[in-house]
């Protein structure tokens, strides 16, 4: 079976792909996608550590509980982010991050 370190390496790679995405992409949707990838990388980390680590029974599954919270909050964040994007598109007819400079609507 794969040990813990391979899981951690994988989540590190995914996380860095997310970072690359945020820095290099112009379209807001691509940025949101890269944020989602980073969140999932963290998710993987949580679950991997919690199932390999051994804690005392009352706090045995903290990692997995946190993973559940992360998933739900990520979904809520994605929903609000996309709603924002829709309103921005309706105002500016484009969601290129580079030309969303003016403060007024």
């Amino acid at each position: 079976m794969a040990e813990l370190s391979s899981f951690l390496v994988l989540s590190a790679i995914l996380f860095s792909i997310g970072v690359y995405g945020i820095i290099s992409k112009k379209s807001a949707i691509r940025i949101l996608i890269s944020i989602e990838i980073m969140l999932n990388a963290v998710l993987l980390n949580f679950v991997a550590l919690s199932s390999f680590q051994v804690l005392e029974p009352p706090l045995l599954l903290t990692g997995q509980l946190f993973a559940m919270f992360v998933i739900t909050i990520a979904a809520a964040e994605a929903a609000v982010g996309l709603a924002l994007m829709v309103t921005v598109y309706r105002a500016h007819q484009s969601i290129e991050v580079s030309n969303l400079k003016r403060l007024k609507g």
Binding site: M1, A2, E3, L4, S5, S6, L8, L10, A12, L14, S16, I17, G18, V19, Y20, G21, I23, S24, K26, S27, A28, I29, R30, I33, S34, E36, I37, N40, L43, L44, V47, A48, S51, F52, Q53, P57, P58, L59, L60, L61, T62, Q64, A67, M68, F69, I71, T72, I73, A75, A76, E77, A78, A79, V80, L82, A83, M85, V86, T87, Y89
Partner: protein
Amino acid sequence: MIDIPFLILSVLAIVTAIMALESKEIIYGAVSLAITFLMIAGFFIILQVPFLAMFQIIINVGAVAVIILFTVMLVGTGTVVATARDRKNSIFAITVGIVFAAGLIIILSQWPGAIRAVPISLSIKEWVGGIASMLIGPFTPVFLTAALLLTAALIGALTLAKSEGTPEEVKDG
């Protein structure tokens, strides 16, 4: 030996993640993102946590990917033209990514602490029992704030995206 399922899943996860960012049309990006979420759920099954795998599929693949696809259809279909500045920018981004990955890998690969050889595998009853006892025990405030936050996000998203009104408003508007 490195087992085959883990290898396949990790390669697929990384490739679909890159596809999600690099693909020409954003539609392919959104679809590849959904596949990445699926691969992550596969990892959870390898880690003997089927409940969480299904949880991840329901929420991330079922809802988040669908919303992103929906928004891409509604909004983001303009093709992005890569200017010179973008190319310079992406080279910089790749270097930052690689440096970041290298740092993380070095730190994470020698992880101290008591490491089990095989992930714990609990029966569904013990697992749900453990989660439930923690939720009721030390984590109740976190649980409540999460619930409040979700409703706030729901209301926020609705008011943001609400544009034209009901037929009556449209008719005289």
